[in-house]
C-alpha cells in the first residue's frame, strides 16, 4: 500500500514530521501565509518603485532639456510631485460643480505656472509646455499610486494584519495595470505622440481636413478652438481642444457658449470620445448612443447636460472603445484607423437627424496631444 509507513526509525521520523507540520499549520498557518503574502507584496512594491523611478527619470530628463537652471528645476520638481488637491465638501452638494471647477482651474493654473517656473525658459512654446505638464502629471499619478500601495504594505507589516495584506494582494493586478498605464503615458507625452484618448480630437481633425473652414475661432473658450464649416448643406461647429500640445480644453464650456449664442437654432450635438471597453470587447470597436460622452471629474459633463436640457437639444455620442492603459498610452493602430468609420457614422447621424440648412455641433473630446 502506498504511503503506508514502514515500522523502522525512518517511519517514526516521517510520522513525527507530519504531526509537527499539522500543529505548526494549525497554530502558525496564518502567520506563514502572511509572510508569504508580504513577500509577494514586497516584490510588487519593488516593481512599482522601479516604475516610479523610471517615470521620474524620464520626466526629469525631458524637463532638463528645456530648463535653464537645473537647481531651480530640481527644487520645484520635487515640490510639484508632492503637491495635492483638496476637493470641496459635498455634505451640501448645491453648487459643488462650480466649486470643483474653481478648484480645478486654480490647480491647473498653479501647475502650469510651476512647470513654467521650473523651466525658466521664455522660448518654450505653449504646446511643448502643456505636453511637459501632462508628463509631470502622469509621473505624479504613478508616484501617488506607489505611496498608497506602500502605505498599505507597511501597515500590514506593522500590525501583522493578514487581511490588510490580502486586500492589497487582491488589488495588485489592478494597481499594476494602472501603474503600467501611467508609465506608458509618460512615454507618450515624452514623445508628444497622440494617445488613445486623442481619438476624439483626431476624428474631428480628420473630419475638417480638406473642407473649407469658414471661421476658426482660436481660444473660443480657454484652451478650446471652434471651427465653422459647411458640410452636407448644414452648418457645422466643430469643437476641439487646442493642439498639438497635451490639452483637454473646456469642451463643455464651448458647447454651452455655442448653444447660448445660437439660441434655438442648433439641431443636434454629436460628441466623439474614447470610452473604456469591457474585457472581451475589441479594442477600436465603435458604438453609438445618446448622452454626454465625456470623462474627467464631471464638471464639463454637467455643463453639457444642463445646457442641452435647457435648449432641448438631442445629444448623440459615438465612442471608440479601449482599455484604460490604451487610453493613456500611445494610440494603437487599430484605434487610430477607426477615424474613417467614425466619420461615416457622423455623416449618417447628421443625415438621419437633421435637415439641410440646420446647425450642428460636433465635439471631439479628449487629450489633443499630437493632433493640431
Amino acid at each position: 500500500m502506498i504511503f503506508q509507513l514502514p515500522n523502522d526509525s525512518m517511519g517514526i521520523i516521517i510520522q513525527t514530521i507530519y504531526i509537527l507540520l499539522f500543529f505548526v499549520l494549525i497554530f502558525f498557518g496564518q502567520r506563514i501565509q502572511l509572510q508569504l503574502t508580504l513577500m509577494e507584496l514586497g516584490n510588487m512594491i519593488g516593481q512599482l518603485d522601479r516604475m516610479r523611478i523610471n517615470a521620474r527619470n524620464e520626466t526629469y530628463g525631458k524637463l532638463k532639456k528645456y530648463a535653464k537652471k537645473e537647481e531651480l528645476l530640481k527644487d520645484i520638481f520635487e515640490r510639484v510631485l508632492n503637491s495635492f488637491v483638496i476637493f470641496p465638501e459635498s455634505m451640501d452638494p448645491a453648487g459643488i460643480v462650480q466649486k470643483m471647477e474653481h478648484i480645478m482651474d486654480t490647480r491647473e493654473n498653479r501647475f502650469l505656472n510651476d512647470v513654467k517656473r521650473m523651466l525658466n525658459n521664455p522660448d518654450i512654446d505653449e504646446a511643448s509646455l502643456k505636453t511637459l505638464s501632462n508628463m509631470v502629471e502622469a509621473t505624479m499619478a504613478l508616484d501617488m499610486l506607489y505611496k498608497i500601495a506602500l502605505h498599505f504594505y507597511l501597515l500590514a507589516k506593522k500590525t501583522g494584519n493578514f487581511y490588510i495584506a490580502v486586500q492589497l494582494q487582491m488589488q495588485a493586478p489592478l494597481i499594476f495595470s494602472f501603474a503600467k498605464a501611467y508609465l506608458q503615458a509618460v512615454y507618450a507625452f515624452k514623445e508628444g505622440a497622440p494617445v488613445g484618448d486623442s481619438v476624439g480630437p483626431l476624428v474631428v481633425s480628420k473630419f475638417i481636413e480638406g473642407k473649407k473652414i469658414k471661421k476658426h475661432h482660436k481660444e473660443f473658450v480657454k484652451d478650446t478652438d471652434v471651427y465653422e464649416l459647411e458640410h452636407l448643406k448644414r452648418k457645422i461647429y466643430v469643437v476641439k481642444a487646442s493642439g498639438p500640445g497635451g490639452n483637454v480644453g473646456k469642451p463643455g464650456e464651448a458647447i454651452k457658449k455655442l448653444l447660448e449664442k445660437n439660441k434655438n437654432s442648433i439641431k443636434i450635438v454629436i460628441m466623439i470620445d474614447a470610452a473604456l471597453k469591457l474585457e472581451g470587447e475589441k479594442t477600436g470597436s465603435v458604438a453609438e448612443g445618446v448622452g454626454a460622452a465625456i470623462g474627467g471629474i464631471g464638471v464639463e459633463k454637467f455643463k453639457i447636460e444642463e445646457v442641452v436640457t435647457k435648449f432641448e437639444v438631442p445629444l448623440y455620442a459615438i465612442i471608440i472603445k479601449m482599455s484604460l492603459a490604451e487610453a493613456i498610452s500611445i494610440i494603437k493602430k487599430e484605434i487610430a484607423e477607426t477615424y474613417e468609420d467614425v466619420i461615416k457614422r457622423i455623416e449618417r447621424v447628421i443625415e438621419e437627424e437633421t435637415e439641410e440648412g440646420d446647425k450642428i455641433i460636433l465635439a471631439g473630446i479628449g487629450n489633443t496631444v499630437g493632433v493640431p
Binding site: 503506508q4 505622440a193 498610452s329
Partner: protein, 104 residues
Amino acid sequence: MIELMLQLGDNAIIDYLLIALMILFVFIFTFTSKSQKSKRMMVKKPIIKTELICIECGFKEIRDFKEGDYIAKETEETCKRCGGKMKINLIYSLEEKKEKKRIL
C-alpha cells in the same frame, strides 16, 4: 517499475518517490507562476510609427516617429512616386513582440 517495487515489497521507495515528485511539482508551479507574474509586470517601450501621405497623389509611406511629429503636419519629405509634398496622416504604436525592448 512500480509493480516491480511492489513485488519487492518496498513501499517506502514509492513513498519517497512520490514525496520527491510532489516537491518537484511545487517547485515547477512556483517557478511558472512567478515567471507569469513577472511577464504581467513587464513594461515595454512602444514602437511608434508615422504614416505619411502625399498631398498630390495620396501615396502612403510609413517611417519611424520623429520628435516634433504631429498629425496633419507638412514634412520636409517628398513623395517617392510623384515628388509632391508629404504630410503626416497618422501616428500610432505597433505591437510587434519581437521588436519590443524590455526596460524593466
